[in-house]
């Protein structure tokens, strides 16, 4: 096998022990920290026998190691157990809620990249001049402000004051039926169902949470892009390119930006890992029925199975995002293979 192939394989296999660690940690943490959920499901006047029965139904009667082995066995065929809250299997719950999170995440992240990278380039090529300072103000506040506050302020401006965009009531206005589910993405499903009106409604609902997400992701992206661009523009190969008479555009975009993109890719990978795990606070403000809200409810109600399922999903997503970044690196950057 080629050296590159071997490196990639080793990197891929490394995911397994990390995943195992995450699963184990989650299981014991949920058990140790989150107390006994029997109380939440037993009526106050319940007899001890009834409580024991409930415990058995919840799978909590066995000793901890037995529960753990049982849990691992089920995980192997993607059985995360049943949520106490919804009564559905956790896997089904997660996949029901995934599209909402993904749709918001994709649009938000796309906005963040579309704003962040050009902003970073603009700041770098105007280094220490006013566009750089203005953008620095933007990135600093984008990173320093809590996402939920940005969301609230946008709601106040665009919904409460200007009435341009709809209020925070979820993916569609109240009372509007979902289009038949094909992909779960409303922006796609509504078109597939031949309902452009629905597409418009969904887009308007999506606008504010996506812009909030876009602002708070654009800030770190712009910052890292700027730093990497500045670094690249001071390198020897750029000096050579300048000496050879290339114009500024070629210098900025063809040489500097392309070389500056690697750290930006790393950052975007990390951000994507976070976003697709569901923005807990953002979703709770905009009543967005995604994974973040699900996790919040699971925490509030000590819903072990749901919580574990979610945490495992979120952590693996994170691990996979970095795996993807590393693999892209190995393919793109010849220096790593050496």
């Amino acid at each position: 096998m080629s050296r590159l192939g071997y490196m990639m394989l080793r990197r891929l296999l490394w995911v397994l022990p990390v995943a195992f660690g995450v699963v184990t940690l989650t299981f014991f943490m949920a058990r140790v920290f989150n107390g006994d959920p029997t109380e939440l499901y037993a009526p106050p006047e319940a007899t001890d026998a009834l409580r024991a029965q409930i415990r058995a139904r919840l799978g909590l009667a066995d000793p901890l190691p037995v529960q753990y082995v049982h849990y691992l066995g089920n995980l192997v065929h993607f059985d995360f157990g049943v949520s106490f809250n919804t009564g559905q299997s956790v896997a089904a719950d997660l996949s029901d809620r995934l599209p909402a999170t993904l749709e918001l995440g994709f649009v938000g992240l796309a906005l963040g990249i579309a704003i962040g990278i050009p902003a970073g380039v603009l700041a770098a090529v105007n280094r220490e001049r006013w566009p750089d300072f203005a953008l620095r103000g933007f990135t600093l506040s984008g990173m320093a402000l809590p996402q939920f506050w940005i969301g609230l302020v946008l709601i106040w401006i665009f919904f409460v004051s200007l009435h341009w965009l709809p209020g925070p009531v979820g993916r569609l206005p109240i009372g509007v039926a979902l289009p038949p589910k094909v992909t779960g993405f409303l922006l796609i499903d509504s078109l597939l169902a031949g309902r452009p009106d629905l597409w418009g409604l969904a887009l308007r609902q999506l606008a504010l949470p996506a812009i909030t997400l876009g602002i708070s992701t654009a800030a770190p992206i712009a910052r890292v892009t700027r730093a990497a661009m500045v670094e690249a523009m001071q390198s020897d190969y750029i000096r050579t390119a300048v000496a050879m008479g290339h114009g500024p555009r070629a210098i900025w975009f063809r040489y500097s930006l392309r070389n500056a993109l690697l750290p930006v890719v790393t950052l975007i990978g990390g951000i994507a890992g976070h976003i697709f795990a569901g923005a807990v606070l953002l979703e709770s403000i905009f009543a967005w029925p995604g994974l973040g809200q699900y996790a919040l409810q699971a925490i509030e109600r000590s819903d072990f199975a749901a919580l574990q399922g979610f945490v495992i999903y979120a952590s693996l997503l994170y691990v996979l995002a970095f795996l993807a970044v590393d693999l892209v690196y190995m393919l793109v950057d010849p220096r790593i293979r050496a």
């Binding site: 920290f33 320093a144 402000l145 809590p146 609230l152 390198s235 919040l296």
Partner: protein, 297 residues
């Protein structure tokens, strides 16, 4: 910082003008970041201390105004739904958000860098185990972890501080380990060893002090993160008791007001957070510049 970076020759300035212009500009920017960041931080500490002895009104007493009073001369930042004075509550909130963030970060810095020095200098089995543990912990979403633990062990300042410091430890461990590994075989460390110092002394008295710059720079950034998580926990109602004037709590309290036009209740606590975290970021940037003169910006 990777060892490659240390070894790389500094790139040569391209013209005579740059030789003089670049360092001066960088210094200008660094010193101003440092000044603004420090000044703002001192301001917050001063407000927090002031709130111990004086606030315009009692921050915890409702019914001082009629409820949702707009900003006016009597109430410069308005009042909340219950009629408590917003300015007084904001001032008192500085104690919580600033105090929690700084304490948590101090604990994480101490424990994390000590572990990192041991892992980086002595290596071996401890290093392997520590790094694996770090990798697993870092796969956990930090905010979620904090929510989970606080919900389970109960709200309260001490618990929030402990959780935040625990979440921070892996980062410091990593950073300190990388620093020590890079410097372990530098000449001054070699000299210290040859002079007969025991190994722990070389690690903690010679190598660690030389890594303080990057660690402090990260601490500042990390404190901003800790303040944001504190506010997030407060916003979700998981952090401190609901009546505590912690800024995240206050934003949550004002959420209904935003929908009906009383924007000030949620708006001003957000600005308070922006000032605190923003100044910590500025400070962190400046410290990173100072710690690494080669860092080009």
């Amino acid at each position: 910082m990777s060892s490659d970076e240390v070894m790389a020759p500094p790139s040569l300035p391209t013209s005579q003008a740059q030789v003089h212009a670049r360092p001066r500009r960088r210094r200008w920017r660094t010193t101003w970041s440092l000044r603004i960041g420090l000044a703002a931080l001192v301001f917050y500490v001063a407000v927090a201390l002031l709130s111990l002895v004086w606030t315009p009104y009692d921050p915890l007493v409702p019914g001082i105004g009629d409820g949702y009073d707009a900003p006016s001369l009597a109430f410069p930042l308005g009042t909340d739904r219950l009629g408590s004075d917003m300015l007084s509550r904001l001032m008192m909130g500085a104690r919580y958000d600033l105090g929690i963030a700084l304490t948590a970060v101090a604990i994480a810095l101490t424990i994390g860098s000590a572990l990192g020095v041991v892992a980086g200098y002595f290596g071996g089995a401890f290093d392997t185990i520590a790094m694996r543990a770090v990798e697993i912990f870092q796969a956990f979403p930090g905010l979620l972890f904090a929510m989970l633990v606080v919900q389970a062990v109960g709200a309260g300042i001490v618990n929030v501080i402990l959780v935040l410091s625990f979440v921070g430890i892996p980062d410091y461990l990593r950073l300190a380990r990388a620093e020590i590994q890079a410097k372990r075989n530098w000449q001054y460390a070699e000299a210290a060893r040859l002079a007969g110092n025991p190994r722990w002394r070389v690690a903690f008295r010679h190598l660690l002090p030389n890594s303080v710059g990057p660690l402090l720079a990260f601490t500042s950034i990390n404190a901003a993160f800790a303040a944001l998580v504190t506010a997030s926990l407060g916003f979700l109602g998981l952090g401190l008791s609901p009546n505590t004037p912690e800024w995240g709590n206050m934003i949550a309290r004002g959420q209904d007001g935003v929908m009906t036009g009383q924007w000030w209740v949620s708006f001003f606590p957000g600005l308070a957070i922006l000032g605190l975290t923003g100044s910590l970021y500025l400070l962190g940037d400046a410290l990173a510049d100072l710690a690494d003169p080669r860092r080009r910006r």
